[in-house]
Subunit: 277 residues, 2 copies
């Protein structure tokens, strides 16, 4: 890995570039993005300069797609005719199955590795990029092939920047994040939207910290979520169905002891994810 192109110079792409620099990568890092993002990325020290996708594909042996999912899908198609042998394309999209399928359709075999850094901030743009954004966070890779020197090299750099690398299939990934990320988001949004539709003024004044906690995710703008939901709708529907079943188990037992069992199961899980290393 000697030269890198960041496609989509936002928070994730810029943070990834800064993390590589901090870990000792000293080859060129160039960017493909809007004029405004290129300027911000140069100012943040994340990229050296801005180029076109054609030049990026010609000059670099790692192409890092840190765009919104729907743009990653378009870029993969465009890269089809551009990628040179020995170049690795990887992405940071938060769903993996449709992206992996698109890559398989358009890119030469063994030139794609799916990726999902489980990290983020509520801000956007290179302006708030952070070299330690990925440190101690899970970084999921899909379709890893240990006989491919490009992917092995990339994986070494993921270790070097301090991530916790986890291998999964695209399907396992999408099913897991449907439950641990997409379901919580939809519950928060649905809770806030339900209370928004109540006529009573009291629901926006009579509340405690519980409601603040449970509606924080609802502050997320729709645009970043649209393509996540669209590209993972089957797994999300399965997650919603499982949730519905549990909620009905509570609803139908509000006046009896069965509720205590559901509370106990929930309490154990909530404790467990707080005590894991």
């Amino acid at each position: 890995m000697r030269s890198i192109a960041i496609i989509g110079v936002g928070l994730i792409g810029s943070s990834f570039a800064l993390a590589l620099r901090k870990a000792g990568f000293n080859g060129p890092i160039i960017g493909v993005s809007s004029e405004r993002s290129i300027e911000a990325g140069i100012k943040a020290g994340a990229i050296d300069r801005g180029v076109t996708l054609e030049i990026a594909a010609l000059d670099c042996d790692l192409i890092y797609l840190s765009q919104p999912i729907e743009q990653i899908l378009v870029t993969l198609q465009l890269l089809g005719g551009l990628v040179k042998p020995g170049c690795l394309v990887t992405d940071a999209g938060s769903t993996k199955k449709m992206i992996a399928a698109k890559a398989a359709e358009h890119l030469p075999p063994a030139s794609f590795l799916g990726g999902h850094p489980m990290a983020g901030k509520e801000t956007r743009g290179a302006e708030t990029a952070d070299a330690d954004l990925f440190r101690n966070r899970p970084y999921i890779i899909t379709g890893f092939d240990s006989t491919n020197p490009q992917t092995v090299d990339f994986r070494c750099w993921l270790h070097a920047i301090g991530t916790d690398v986890i291998e999964m299939t695209p399907e396992q990934h999408d099913q897991t994040v449907a439950l641990t990320s997409h379901l919580p988001q939809l519950l928060s949004t649905a809770l806030a939207a339900t209370l928004a539709s109540e006529q009573s003024h009291a629901v926006s004044t009579i509340f405690g910290p519980a409601l603040i906690d449970m509606t924080r995710l609802a502050l997320s703008p729709a645009d970043v979520w649209m393509s996540v939901l669209e590209t993972n709708s089957n797994a999300i529907k399965k997650a919603l169905d499982a949730f519905e079943k549990t909620l009905m188990r509570l609803r139908d037992n509000l006046e009896c002891g069965e509720v205590a069992h559901v509370f106990e199961e929930g309490r154990r899980f909530a404790s467990k994810i707080r005590t894991l290393p």
Copy 2:
């Protein structure tokens, strides 16, 4: 209001006593509770001594019920034959309709005022009592009668300790907290319990801050919630039905623009409750 009995000397009862002391109340404050709680309450400076309910009813002109709901219901029944004229009984239970009905059944007219301080901590007991626990928090009162000098006096003390006093009917209160407190709790518990039942190990390792936020309430032990859910089951079922409808609106539109409207409604509400004074 010259002498006060705190029935149930835990976090809420002790904090209320400390708040009154801080605001200048200098009459006796006695407690009715378990031996252990009385000791802790005296040590915390919340109460002067422990007595029986009979003596409390005889000696005091304010009786403050800060027990779990099911015990408040029992105490109201016991107080029926004990309360002397001019004594005010009030409670800090987190549902109001069943408590108000029980009070109406057993206590003399005009001797009861329902209350719900919207404040708390994750700890319990007089050991962590805090004179400022109620400061700047809503304190809902139900069945307030401005012609009754006892309730007017009590309300003045609520102002003196810095609470934001809000009058509601017991029904309005219970419907509101079903939406702003009980629904969020059930969603957090159901989310954690749903993930607990997943066979995949990945759901307890592959997650971000979103899941931590959304499962914090699920850490609550069942025992404090059982009587809340039981005494407010109708309003909670209505809240769950409204939530279900919104969730289905999301589920059925994951691949289309309608989702963006629900996100926008949710985002507006989540912003609104964060910007209110």
